[in-house]
Symmetry: C2
Subunit: 354 residues, 2 copies
Amino acid sequence: MQEGAAGNAGSGLRVAQKVKLSTIADALGLSTATVSLALRDSPLVAEVTRERIKEEARLSGYIYNRRAASLRTSRSGIVGVCVHDVMNPFFGEILKSIEDELDRHRQTFILCNHYDDLAKQRSFVDTMLQLGSDGLILSPAIGTPPADIRLAEDNELPVTLIARTIEGSGVTGFRGDDAYGMGLAVDHLIARGHRRIAMIGGTQFTSTGRDREAGYLAALKRGGIEFRPQWRLEGPRDRHSGFDAASQFLAIEDRPTAIVCFSDLVALGVMYGLSRAGLRPGHDIAVTGYDDIDEAAIATPSLTTVANGQSEVGRRAAGALLERLRGAEAGEETILITPELKIRQSSGHRDFDS
Amino acid sequence: MQEGAAGNAGSGLRVAQKVKLSTIADALGLSTATVSLALRDSPLVAEVTRERIKEEARLSGYIYNRRAASLRTSRSGIVGVCVHDVMNPFFGEILKSIEDELDRHRQTFILCNHYDDLAKQRSFVDTMLQLGSDGLILSPAIGTPPADIRLAEDNELPVTLIARTIEGSGVTGFRGDDAYGMGLAVDHLIARGHRRIAMIGGTQFTSTGRDREAGYLAALKRGGIEFRPQWRLEGPRDRHSGFDAASQFLAIEDRPTAIVCFSDLVALGVMYGLSRAGLRPGHDIAVTGYDDIDEAAIATPSLTTVANGQSEVGRRAAGALLERLRGAEAGEETILITPELKIRQSSGHRDFDS
DNA sequence: CTGAAAGCGCTTACAG
DNA sequence: CTGAAAGCGCTTACAG
């Protein structure tokens, strides 16, 4: 009969008969308008009234219904964040700074891994759309077409890209200057006397992978070194596959004396693999990483790497999105954060013979 | 004037004038009731009509408004998951299996780190309540009072606990049998001939910390070894603090020959620290971890550890919550998953002298 | 098989 | 400073 009539079970009730604005209003002999205003600290409501209302809300265990509010205002207070994998410390560190920034602006943030699965990413974007999310921070899955970004934008879901960017997406993106950064690592190894330098990890399918490889190739050329295809072991992007790649590396004929890795995770895996084979990274073979995750400094040997500005990427991406929520126009540029070389033990403490 | 009148801008419009059920209904000369039913595949709607409706929805770029639906049905399709830190692979692995399980049931899951900050956890629970979330999977922050759990439960937000449990919370929890598991590791070291065994990491403030310590102490006693307070280095719970603890360990007088660590992360950090000091873990000193995270098998030396059933914890916790969403009663028990010892290199390949 | 109407719990002009 | 009323976009009995 009265299916929805959860109803006002009386005035000062401390029980859970679903307290809503009207419950409080009734109890106090006020209107829901006044209660609504008071709870949001509107100066329109007299101080005394406001306090009475807040007190009653507290006592009655009132819970604000954000769905209802959001349906009315079309603001949800939600920002979606979707990356390849939050377990990867590289993303973890970016997320931490996004979280800080969003927290400060009282936005709820919803996290999602797409594992480079386009369908999973789409379903997340869809969910954000359906929830009326206020914005989306995305590190796009491999193969994301610009249309996927525009779908969101066209439906009033502002998007900011991080770590990876997409040609023609028409939205702002923040990432490190990967080509430059990888150049730094390779230059460093060349300066230490290496002439045969391998690169392990990364794929052609992300901007990150392409740019880091380009930086590697450019630096070799700069150093007057002719690249040999067998030096390039594509693929690995995590610790495990880095570990596996170590044995492939060891089988390369006229074996390189140094390895630049796609990421710290890959480098750490490679170092585990080399040690397993009885080689001492930083001694028998120079190894560099990329990202400067927390672990790089305590790894043994400590890892020479390229600091990639994760927290700056996160902070600025969140900042840019918040700007847009305040009505700013979408920028279309990709903003490159300048990376920095961190020299530690894994690249060797002395010159190598090559 | 007509602030909310986004309105039906005409029939077959492909433009973004906010398409809603009524837009589709108008375009097709049907009622919103029929459209709503059709879009959710109700057999009440004739096949042909259903197809026409779906086609129109697709063409017009209709986006389902979940807030509106959820306001009406008081089902949101959202499950919140809150843990100490998703970057910790231990939680990461649990989350992955929760994610799989929830995905299969088309529940959106919202992730949150509380970093053991009670206020942050509360604000997350609040958000879930306000969003009308369907359920909550929680690894409670240190010091969580049972009342915080009951607040959620009293407001129809079913809670399932993972990894850590809380006395008197009255809800189901899933975690490994920590005391038993730690006993396994210590027994193993004793069997290898160790008589002085330190324990690094963990705190009294979590059930996990207490139980693992209890397991350690019980196993020493079982082995006829008298515990010495200087063997117990409390505190470390991540890689970095494990690394730092290594030097404290080295300063212990009459130094132990073996270390059981609170977690793999701590053990991995300890091993980095020992190596840094020129000691070879698994050779000069035996080390064990706890959790059997992915990295344990590829670490060098590979890490002897206790498999803690992360994916089983995640899967069963999600399963139990889904059961409750289907109307099952809340259980009150804590379910212990039986852990398993994984013997690898770090505990030594031969007997030690003690 | 389809439609008219009420209602989920808020917020927002508008009046007073 | 406070209240009455409309409306956000759905879904759900109920009628036909």
